[in-house]
Amino acid sequence: MTSRLPLHGVGALFALAWLGVACHHDVDKQTAAPAVSGAPVKVEPRAQLLATYPCTRCHEGRTPRPEQYKLTEFHRIRNEDLAHGDSKAWCYQCHAMEDINRLKLANGTLVSFDEAYKLCISCHGDKRKDFESGVHGQTAGYWNGVKYRRSCPSCHNPHNPAFPAMEPENPPGSPRPSDTL
């Protein structure tokens, strides 16, 4: 699209666009330089949304138990719901035993809860490309400005990641109470 310009590199192209040199020619509009390209993409932070974060509020001073056992108290629901990966999946496959406030990637690197998506894509490599490019998942913000990718756990419960069935809105033509739209 820029073959008529004897310049290379995105930066040079932008500088030109800024100076108004590259505009107002008979450039095919379909391939003309966009108004805003390569706007920053941020991943929505997660830690602040978690009711039980930081984990050290309770786990401080506790000895982690790496083996599977039946949780009967605080994380009981997680335990019963746990349906991720094979039957051997357990807390410390993803939560870091050495630092309970962080997560552990498949390669052993520790990351914060804000970077939970890195944990997901460290196993789900097929989704990595689609998530990073915005093909998979939700993107909020501005289509021509700052974009916020929703982190994987916004939609998928990490302990039971299948997308849940939902109740649909009313079908067309169904009576609605007058105070609702």
Binding site: K29, G145, F163, A165, P168, E169, L181
Partner: protein
């Protein structure tokens, strides 16, 4: 579909002349015979703005120029008049604007059919954003439920009423205005009240539309809706952020449709249906931007368009990813 009986003043007219009279009465809000109407129109045309009758908002509206011919001042006056009308009718202060197309932007909308689960959140969010009435029920988006492996739209249904979605063996196909590059509706319009904007959005000047519904018949996606009666929206549900060419409250007797929420998207925001979708199936952006999601999808994913054989060349496409 249950529907209250229409306004008796809008009973089917006997002749074309009576219909004109009836429309004039509806717009002027007073009894006007055809002769009176012609007299008023003639007087207005001859004597210009000095005649007191010419200052009547309805007369001004009747004599309004096409949107593309309006100057900035004229637009301002029209928008103020419309804002005032909404305030008089519902007590809600709204702001009407007409954000222009952004240079070099070509909108496209992608819908991931492997993610859509038919929850209809988009349908309702669209209704709220675009001031769509419940009575008559107007919705821009229809979600079709189809059997897996079938593309027989005739056998799909929008009336599915399950406890939960998705149902096994079914897939869901939301259909809304495809903003065709080769739009049959634009070709069908005899008055030029609907046209394609430089950014690809097909818009309607509701003040120019005569309500002939040719466009509605021409659209192969069933994307256009007609206001058979005055749309009634509860004041608390009126969206005050309005666009002259998009979601302002429509008068009776005109056609309307999805505009990719241009009052939002031309300011960089996403359409309402996009923002509400809980499955992330909806993708929107600038096709001319190589880094945009829609461009990447168009280049890399399995993309198809609905009723491709009609050559409408839509800006709305479906994909599996």
């Amino acid at each position: 579909m249950p529907r209250t009986s229409p306004d008796p003043s809008f009973a089917p007219p006997k002749s074309a002349g009576e219909r004109v009279e009836q429309l004039v009465e509806l717009r002027l809000g007073k009894n006007a015979s055809r002769r009176n109407f012609l007299k008023t129109a003639l007087a207005a045309a001859v004597t210009g703005a000095t005649t007191p009758g010419c200052d009547h908002p309805a007369v001004k509206e009747l004599l309004q120029k096409h949107y593309k011919e309006l100057t900035a001042e004229e637009k301002k006056e029209i928008f103020q008049r419309l804002e005032q009308r909404t305030y008089q009718k519902s007590g809600v202060r709204v702001r009407i604007g007409d954000p222009p197309p952004i240079d070099g932007v070509h909108y496209a909308y992608g819908l991931n059919l492997s993610h859509c689960n038919g929850n209809r959140r988009c349908v309702e969010a669209c209704a709220r954003e675009n001031n769509l009435p419940n009575d008559p029920e107007i919705r821009y988006i229809r979600v079709l439920e189809l059997d897996n492996g079938s593309m027989d739209l005739e056998r799909g249904t929008t009336a599915y009423d399950h406890e939960t979605v998705p149902q096994p063996g079914k897939f869901y196909l939301p259909v809304q205005c495809h903003q065709c590059r080769n739009a049959p509706c634009v070709k069908a319009c005899p008055t030029g009240a609907t046209w394609k904007e430089p950014d690809g959005i097909v818009v309607i000047d509701y003040n120019w539309c005569i309500g002939c519904r040719y466009c509605q018949a021409a659209c192969p996606y069933h994307a256009r809706r007609f206001n058979w009666i005055e749309p009634a929206i509860e004041p608390q549900h009126i969206n005050p952020d309005q666009g002259y060419l998009s979601n302002r409250i429509r008068p009776v007797g005109v056609v309307e449709k999805c505009t990719f929420c241009l009052h939002r998207t031309r300011k960089g925001r996403y359409p309402a249906c996009y923002e509400v979708c809980p499955t992330g199936a909806r993708k929107f952006g600038n096709l001319a931007d190589p880094s945009s999601e829609v461009r990447r999808i168009m280049e890399n994913e399995r993309v198809w368009i609905l009723k491709e054989e009609l050559g409408t060349d839509p800006r709305f496409f479906y994909f599996y990813a």
